[in-house]
């Protein structure tokens, strides 16, 4: 007896890999179609400036969404990312303006604030046993409140021009936010596919009891996952602050929705156990393309919201359909 491996190719072969890429086709196909359509519909679309702009625009959402993907794979959710990003941005800017901290250190400091917020989320979920939705909903409110307290709801400005490097600088032709995103994505992909952390995240999301009974230290890894999400929110918050060269107290309101949309469009399941970095990147890119295209084609911004909502429906519907078909096979 053994494997009846005739019909289905064995893993590691190109056919298997092709198949797993095909499963992302819903998002990838939409991105492609939209890309072609926009390049035909608008002269301003395929210009170096605009494409770079799209990259930079999607970078903030995509970086946070990669952290979110890991959380969602564990069947959790992090609603606090928008507020945490704002908190990191304003505190990072304050470190420079008020305390004269060196800019690289301020960036690390701001990102670390995100990690701390993530750790609090993680402890609330694992130690206090709160539902992730509730724990991070609380953090959404608390972090935003802190932002307004420390800033007095006034933007933190007066940062030196070097502060802009992270968000506006370029290395050769490539904008630094995009490079940062690439780095985060590669790391995220490796974590998910090649480390215990990633494997345990999928296992916890698929069946937390099975994971625990298999000796997975569930609480420790769940806490790590929220720390990662917070850290990504912090990093993205610093990039966003750097782009506008100031800490904006109103940054990131509602951002969590875009982030969750990107991961869901990219094939992550809110029930856990499913999700990939590649999918999430495509999801984030799709959202950025819609926003960018709407501006170029002069579509009312309110319609963007509707389009994004409909795309979420289609993506999830397609995903379920695909899964049902695969299960029936």
């Amino acid at each position: 007896m053994g494997w009846q491996g005739r019909r289905v190719p064995s893993p590691g072969t190109w056919r298997h890999r092709a198949r797993s890429v095909v499963s992302q086709l819903a998002a990838a196909g939409t991105v492609l179609v939209l890309f072609i359509y926009l390049s035909l519909a608008s002269d301003a679309f395929i210009t170096a400036n605009n494409l770079i702009n799209i990259g930079v625009q999607s970078a903030v959402v995509a970086i946070i969404a990669i952290g979110m993907t890991i959380v969602i794979i564990t069947a959790g959710i992090d609603l606090s990312v928008g507020s945490v990003a704002a908190l990191s941005g304003v505190l990072g800017a304050l470190l420079v303006v008020n305390y004269g901290v060196a800019i690289p250190l301020a960036i690390i400091g701001g990102t670390a604030i995100g990690a701390v917020a993530g750790m609090v989320n993680g402890l609330l979920v694992t130690q206090a046993g709160m539902a992730p939705f509730i724990a991070t909903l609380g953090m959404l409110s608390v972090a935003r409140g802190l932002v307004y307290i420390v800033t007095g709801s006034v933007a933190v400005s007066g940062t030196p021009p070097e502060f802009k490097v992270l968000g506006q600088g370029r290395l050769g032709a490539l904008p630094i936010p995009v490079l940062t995103l690439v780095l985060v994505a590669v790391l995220g992909h490796l974590i998910l596919t090649r480390t215990k952390l990633g494997r345990y995240a999928y296992a916890i999301g698929s069946n937390v009891e099975a994971a625990r009974l298999s000796g997975v230290p569930v609480k420790r890894y769940l806490a790590i996952v929220y720390i990662i999400s917070g850290t990504m929110a912090g990093l993205a918050g610093m990039i966003a602050a750097s782009r506008v060269n100031s800490g904006q107290p109103n940054f990131g309101i509602g951002l969590e929705l875009d982030v969750i949309a990107a991961t869901v469009i990219g094939g992550a399941s809110l029930f856990g156990g499913e999700g990939t970095v590649v999918g999430t990147l495509l999801g984030a890119l799709l959202i950025a393309l819609i926003r960018n295209g709407s501006v170029l084609l002069d579509i009312n911004t309110f319609y963007q919201q509707i389009i994004i909502g409909i795309i979420i429906w289609i993506a999830v519907f397609w995903d379920q359909y695909r899964r049902r078909r695969a299960a029936a096979r």
């Binding site: 053994g2 494997w3 893993p11 490796l190 069946n207």
Partner: protein, 502 residues
Amino acid sequence: MAEPLLEMHEVSKRYPGVLAVDQVSLTVLPGEVHVVVGENGAGKSTLMKLLAQVERPDEGVIRVDGKPVAFRGPRFAQLVLGVSMVHQELALAAHLSVAENLCLGDESSRWGVLSRRADRRRARSLLARVNLTVDPARAVGTLPIADRQRVEIAKALNGNPRVVIMDEPTTMLTEAEIDDLFTVIAELKGCGITIVYISHRLDEVAHLADRVTVLRDGRVVQTLPAAEASPQHLIRLMVGRDIGDLYPKPDVEVGDILLSADGICRRGKVVDLVDCSVDVRSGEIVGFAGLVGAGRTELARAIFGADIPDAGRVSVRGRKVNLRSARQGIAAGLGYLTEDRQAEGLAMALPVDQNITLANIPLRLRMIDLPAERKIAQSWGNQLGIKAPSIKSRVRTLSGGNQQKIVVAKWLEARSQVLFFDEPARGIDVAAKAEIFDLIGRLAAQGCGIVIISSYLPELLNMCDRILVLRAGRIAGELARDEFSEERIMQLATGTGKGFQR
């Protein structure tokens, strides 16, 4: 012969990729208990869902009283045709009360306001028909499984159906509860209700059936009177070939003590464990018998470390285990195959190989060694005869027997020396069951210590060297192989025996 009450004529049902029911013709006579047997996946449940109009047939005619019936859904089937169904997976709303569940979809109301009193009254009369005395205001989620199932049967009696279909109602019950259920079935039959009863437990046929229909691969193999349906004959019809010994217990020299648990105590939700001590030797198969709620699963989980005991010592090969978590138990060489694979045993959405290595992931430079992982999974797959399209197939898509083997592979890969099998044959068809018990025997022969928990006594009587009987969280007695008998075990389990206390 009486006119058939129900008649299916060349009925087929196709799901994407499978022909679940293939040109089935079946008649049910009024007043009979008609047992439908077949392996998992033979199409029993689907066939019954067609009868109860839960699913719409693709082809064929269903007649009631000789007249073809339209398809209008389960409510129509129950209230108009008088055909209702008790589903296998209990379909009750745990948060609602017994009465609310019983009247769900058909609440008594006056001017749009629910009348709780009328619903409770109706609930009481339904409950009386299934010999269940519970407060109709109690939330269903707080009832024990056996009572929940009784509620489910009561629900099926809404609207005074003529036919009640029961889909494997005994899978979650203990022997005593099964006897009670059979009494209820006999009473319903006495009231003139026709019962269609799905089962894969052949001993139930003799207890219940007037006639038996055997299904295989979506087709009817044969319908025969119960008198002609010996278990051996039925197995042959179900499987399509002879199966050797269902419980192949090898002769194994029992060796040194592998696992020693001493004075385990733990306060629990269902039952408190009090001073339970267990030794398991190399090559030995020990059974945990007892009623549901006696603490068998709880004891295994406490020894393994899935639940942390309040007191007691566990040592493996003479070395003390610090039971703080399942992790410690695994590191010491223990493995626990849960009763409910789907809820606790496997990550159903993950592929075969990732489930096999979950308790012991091969690493290289702190990264998962994917080629090694593949090799490990491949090798266990071959050794244990796991049948799957590929090692990347999601576990969810595999049969119960193959899923069980994957859990076994996980523990063997984690180098477990003592394995707890909690209801290892649950939800597995006859052929796979024989394979699993053969595997258990081989593991014992290789020097593993084995603990089997089962509510089905023949499994324990045939496989075990020793049986510990639990009652209300204590070990009520211990039987060596030459003392085995169902009566002795039941006496110890229910406390009706005279002084077998050890």
